[in-house]
């Protein structure tokens, strides 16, 4: 049969293509970090989430313990409601606090969980009460400028200052 001459080569080609896809999925993509572990959901309300996005990491002590499931706006309290998926094998006290942190100066934002001291642990659908909003650069610059202006106003400006 004529075709059998190329069989092995075609098989090799298909395998190489499959291996390339696998490489893209595992090495370049995040298939390995996709977690099919059991999770439980807790929510937290923030005054300002800054640039936080769904699927952002939830870290405690720098270790990823979950992911942001969804972000929505609560028009009762005018706050952002963030639903977190935490890994089932990680338990946190009920008075833990969540804050939105930034990896590096311009890096992506993630949620840092600070464990509390309560005896009881967070259960599914609980709410984390203590939250700290994201640091918004504009607000920070505004505060800096305001305090600078206040300093300038209070300090007596000597005439003919070369500085």
């Amino acid at each position: 049969m004529q075709a059998s001459r190329h069989d092995a080569w075609v098989g090799l080609f298909v395998l190489v293509g499959g291996a390339a896809l696998l490489f893209l999925a595992l090495k370049a993509g995040n298939l390995l970090s996709l977690n099919f572990d059991e999770t439980y959901q807790v929510s937290a309300k923030f005054d300002n989430i800054g640039g936080l996005k769904a699927r952002a990491a939830v870290k405690s002590a720098g270790v990823v313990v979950g992911r942001v499931e969804s972000i929505s706006f609560d028009d009762k309290t005018f706050q952002a409601k963030v639903v977190l998926n935490l890994h089932k094998n990680v338990q946190f006290p009920t008075d833990s606090s969540a804050k939105i942190l930034t990896a590096g100066l311009l890096g992506e934002q993630y949620i840092g969980l600070e464990p509390g001291a309560s005896e009881k642990n967070l259960a599914a659908n609980d709410q984390i009460k203590a939250t700290q909003s994201a640091v918004v650069l504009e607000t920070l610059i505004g505060q800096f400028l305001n305090s600078k202006a206040a300093d300038m106003g209070s300090a007596p400006a000597p005439a003919g200052d070369k500085k």
Binding site: A28, G29, N30
Partner: protein
Amino acid sequence: MTALTASLGLALRQTLAGVGWGARLFVQILARSLPALARFSLVREQVFFLGNRSLSIIGVSGLFVGFVLALQGYYTLQRYGSAEAVGLLVALSLVRELGPVVTALLFAGRAGTSLTAEIGLMKAGEQLTAMEMMAVDPLTRVLSPRFWGGFIAMPLLAAVFSAVGIVGGWLVAVPLIGIDGGSFWSQMQGGVDVFADVGNGVIKSLVFGITVTFVALQQGYACSPTPEGVAQATTRTVVISSLAVLAFDFMLTAMMFSI
């Protein structure tokens, strides 16, 4: 003035007829998929011809595109002090855009032209007519296996292109420029989503595979059976399939990544 209107009308009617004929051919090829796939040795032969034989040009191009992406990306990113993100830049541009598109353009030049020329010469040599005389359907025996061969080969080639390109980007970024290898990969893994980026890239390459292969087959099957006809059809294959790939790429990108 009337002559101009008449020629415009004729051109429009011919274009419409061509599009209609092409659509009918597409449906006919698809309708004959089962008997063509049942004789899988024919399809396998085409996968060898379209896929294996294109592997070298795809691999080398992917490697160099990866090299260049890493160099150019590093040049821009190091100004903002985020040279480690070069891995992410290389991977995202390859997986989402360059992998499928450049592979499709190379595939049109390397494989599409030979499909058109082969079928055009078969037509010029009256082999297709001879097949019909022997009650062998040329669509089942010739066109459909080639279509499926291209359909199978193209996504695999695009995946090879992207993977080789990422390795090429790594070669330039990590050993040559000296970016930290760990953050090269971790930035990439943090930013590339398997379904949104890799999956959509595969969908793109499937669409491009269908486009390029079908345009090549259609041009070959429609060409006038003369040496000039075959030459013109081969040229048109490259022009039409490249333009179609770029147009489809814009539409698919707008649909997939517009959010």
